[in-house]
Amino acid sequence: MSLFWMTPDGEKKSYEELMDFLSRPGKLPYVLRQPNGRELISSLLAHFVRGNSSVLLDHGMQESEVASLGLQPDDLARDIESGDIEFENFDHAWNKLENSPDARVYIYTSGTTGRPKKVGHSWKTLARAVRRSSDHKEDVWALAYHAAHFAGLQVMLQAIGNQNPIIDLFHATSAQSRELMKTQGITHISATPAFYRRLLLDIETPVESVRQVTCGGEKYDAALVPLLEEAFPNAAIRNVYASTEAGSLFSARNDVFKPGERVKDLVRVSPEGELWIHHSLLGDFSNVDFADGWYRTGDMVEQNPDGSFRFVSRKQDFVNVGGYKVNPLEVEDLVREVPGVVDCVVRARSNSVLGNILEAFVQPSPKSITNDLEKDILTFLRSELQPYKVPRVIRFVDRLESSHTGKRKRR
């Protein structure tokens, strides 16, 4: 029996059980919003394998948010009858998934303003980044993203495509994380920098089993790399650029991405430095205007003459402080370099004198004395930054609030 899923408290399911679920007849909701990642992905696959479309919702969404998506009550209550299917083996089932050209899964991007965008993914765009080969036979994946989000789907599909175990770290407590990292032989982790910052606090000794550590979802955190190298001495550390709209597009060893031949002509940088992606690389959008065929990612990049580029910030991340634009991510990176700082988020606070001022929320390491730490942070920032970029208020917190996708909350 090969392990398919393990919850933080040790409950296990096998791939045989998954196959059994996929072949069994029954009713499945059209709108999938199970909090349990295994049930969610299993239902999604059961729809796909029959050529049926479905909608994926974050179970954390409030009813009012669900209502604002434009889903009808009928949709929310609808079940789809699924007939039984015989699979000769796992590959046969995977084949069926690949040959469901009309099926879509609709995902709503977490859009920061206005109505979330609805994106429909075919199996082709959903599983574009999945690599199946005998090289991946022994991989063991940690799930460190929300299962209903694109990055979580990517992790689960990569694992399932190779019948690898998925260990649910996303819902694990500190003690459970420590235990799972120690005992489960995890080889691959993909997570946001914020998730790693927390995980590193939980791990007491280096984890030898991990071979690949992938950072994504937030700006690359260069100061994190040496810490990851220490915690995962046998791992290759890489950085991916991915979005809900396009999925994984580029990966790099550091923060300089070079688009491969396949996508090179399908990405461009606008005159003001925003990354644009050609619509042919995306899922199907319902409510986004592609007048000229290019999707505005909102990601600001710096382009090099050889076509490679570096991610600088999100367009809306910039804060206007008295007429100066500040990239809070730049400030956060520096704060994290100060000894005694575990993690940090810098936010704008509206102010009648300057429009906005910067407030830094800092998670100190357990032993640091916050009074001294405040001084150290300010001294260091003043030596590195223009005065208007230095946060005027520093608040020490036990734990940084993160959104349920695992990213640091900025608003």
Binding site: N351, V353, L378
Partner: protein, 74 residues
Amino acid sequence: MKKKALLEIVNKVLEKKDMPSISEISPEQTLREDLNFDSLDLAELTVRIEDHFGVDIFANGIVRTVGDILGLLP
């Protein structure tokens, strides 16, 4: 009480600028000249006062002196 709390806030801003703290504030002291606050310091002062007193002192106009601030505090 108001005065004491305001003195503490002023000193917090001064301390972060590596300026010597002051033992007293008086209503006629000007923020720019006497206390040597630049606009970033004033911005910080307003949020610290807002956190403590719940009042945005710059919301309705210009504040030049310590006395102006004291007049706005509840």
